[in-house]
Symmetry: none
Subunit: 216 residues, 4 copies
DNA sequence: TATGAATGAGTCTTCATTCAT
DNA sequence: CATGAATGAAGACTCATTCAT
């Protein structure tokens, strides 16, 4: 074997090792992330200690801090995941073509969000139940997130108004109402014992938001 | 002054002292209750220590435990207060006379609740933000409370349906939506910097819930 | 009524008041003393709080400190009572006449002590069980007391030796043994459910101490 | 070095580390146990705080709770040690051969017990002075222990009676006397400044118990 | 990289004692 | 004298984080 080959092989080795190491690395992270998701969703942030997380993850105490700087940071990352997934599911309503797409787009948004929430039951419960009250800084992050969501809703409403679809109203206030109705309905749907059909949920929530409870 | 008079006077004295003592007693309770309401609403249950409460209340550590068996019990009492006030503001819709009273009754409920919430800003924030995640037992209490509210809404919806006022829908789901919309809207209204007009809020929230966002 | 008579009457009044006051005073003390004796003997010094004592005595908190400078001082006084009673029951053996009086004197001592112990069951239990371990200062007092008792026993033994009644032995060591045997036997007798006959106890303990367990 | 060897070595390493860790672990326990033994024997259970124990043990607060669930549990373990050592030193008297072994066996028991007590001076002082009055549950344990000892003495006495060695007497009462005499004599011997010869002590105590104080 | 023993700041709670009425 | 509300020092215990191996 010539020199160059040896080098090449060594590099390959190194890469392999790195990849393996990296895979192991992310594996560890995943272990911890998954375990914490499970534990947090059952007992809540405050009621669950690092000890419980590492026990569930079958990882040593030190290892935990090898991958996460603190319990709080881990929690933040967990929620960050949710943020991006939900954010990814929501798309701004556009009016650049198609027939009556606005409504369909809204429905799509609602359904996609619900799917994300249902698909990440544990994370959703965490997000909806107690992602609040950790400290001022954290609360701020959460507010920003919900503000973003509510902004999207707000602008959709305004768009609807300009299109003559949405009635006269305080869109700011109504966007909060919309957000709240989705949050509560979903939390109930996820924590209730009976599993609900995603589509039905989406349809029910959307109907409520569009038409209210009145007959006419 | 004869013996009987002296006794009577002494008794009066004693009663007077007792009354004053009792007044002081409840005053202290009030001090602590108020201080904790303030502190909890700013920093949250977990982030605030007994030390902070007694500092705010300007009361000694021992005094705290003279009036409340534990930090947790104090918190529970705070929420219990809210529970009863809100519950007291909500009245079941009745149909035993009057013209179109149902709608007015709903409006009255919404407005009264909002008034209670606005009038107890700190408590409301505590209730809406983090009265959750303390422990299983406490969560249960909260759930029971919200269930009761949502039950009241539910039966109002069913009544409305039987009267032909409310459209066909999953009243259970919709009651959660209604509850959620009120919770979120109120939390935003109370934590936002701009104070909002109670009446306007009530009207906006009610409109949203009755008619949805659609024009027609 | 003439002046002198009035004065006399006033003085009598004053005395009467003083006496009554003093009687009340000692009455209060007695109340507290009795209550604490009861409570201490059941739960022990550390396990019983001032709150329990005043509850049992039906006396206000402040009143307690009107009669006793501290919980600890009260306890000391309780034991002091025991000390003097026991000390009063023990008399030095004398040889100044009578036939074989020494033995009878010993028996008398043992029986009188036992009577005191039995007659003050609560105090005895307190004294024998946990009058130890409060703090160095207190332990010292207790040691002094027991040393005095054991000294009395010691000198009785030495006297017995000089009279040819008591065998050759380390009287110091034996005096401790004697003391210990009485303490343990009495504690068992008093805390055991079956009440024992005082005379029988005295006889049994004395026999044991004089003749040991051996037949010959 | 082949793979299997590497693995073996790694395992050996791991084992080695574990063993060392375990050694360290028990070392820490020992440190704390020793420190508490010292502190407790001087100041007593109640008068000594966890702070003092960890100061003496030169260990952090958390470390204490790493090895013992509570101050009380530590204390219990300390006494448990004594229990088993003393219990191990006492053997039932048997009559299945040898010449006059019963007496020698008794002497052996007494001496072995005394050796244990002397060899664990601190623990003995703790046991004899204030292993009482902590709480009902603990007192019970202690009573059970002493009952066991006194039972052993009792049955030895009964055996002695059946063999014609021990005189007619209430063996129950006498067994308490014997126990008490040993307790008191040992406590005095251990807390007195002058160290005493074990053998002399044993002989003195045994003589006292067998023959009493009388000459004949 | 992985481990888990060690750390100590921080928390809640108790209770003997004081003092204004 | 009597009261009991108020005090605050002191205690036991927890748990997120660090670090030597």
């Amino acid at each position: 074997m010539v020199w160059a080959d040896q080098m090449a092989e060594r590099d390959a080795d190194k890469d392999g090792r790195k990849q393996r190491a990296s895979a192991r690395r992310s594996h560890r992270r995943g272990q911890i992330l998954a375990a914490s998701r499970k534990v947090f969703s059952v007992k809540g942030y405050h009621a669950c200690s690092v000890a419980e997380i590492i026990a569930e993850a079958r990882v040593a105490r030190g290892t935990f801090y090898l991958y996460f700087p603190s319990k709080r940071a881990l929690f933040e990352e967990l929620l960050e995941q949710m943020f991006s997934q939900i954010a990814g599911a929501v798309r701004r309503i556009t009016v650049d073509g198609g027939l009556d797409p606005a409504l369909e787009q809204m429905y799509g948004n609602v359904q996609r969000v619900i799917e994300v929430l249902v698909g990440n039951r544990d994370l959703t419960i965490i997000l909806l139940r107690e992602a609040v009250g950790l400290d001022a800084d954290f609360d701020h992050k959460l507010n920003v997130f919900y503000d973003r969501l509510s902004d999207i809703i707000d602008s959709a409403l305004q768009l609807g108004q300009s299109m003559g679809l949405v009635r006269e109203c305080d869109t700011r206030l109504v966007s909060h109402c919309v957000l709240g109705s989705v949050k509560e309905a979903m939390l109930r749907a996820l924590t209730g014992e009976a599993a609900r059909d995603t589509d039905e949920l989406a349809r029910g929530i959307l109907d409520y938001n569009l038409r209210g409870v009145f007959k006419v």
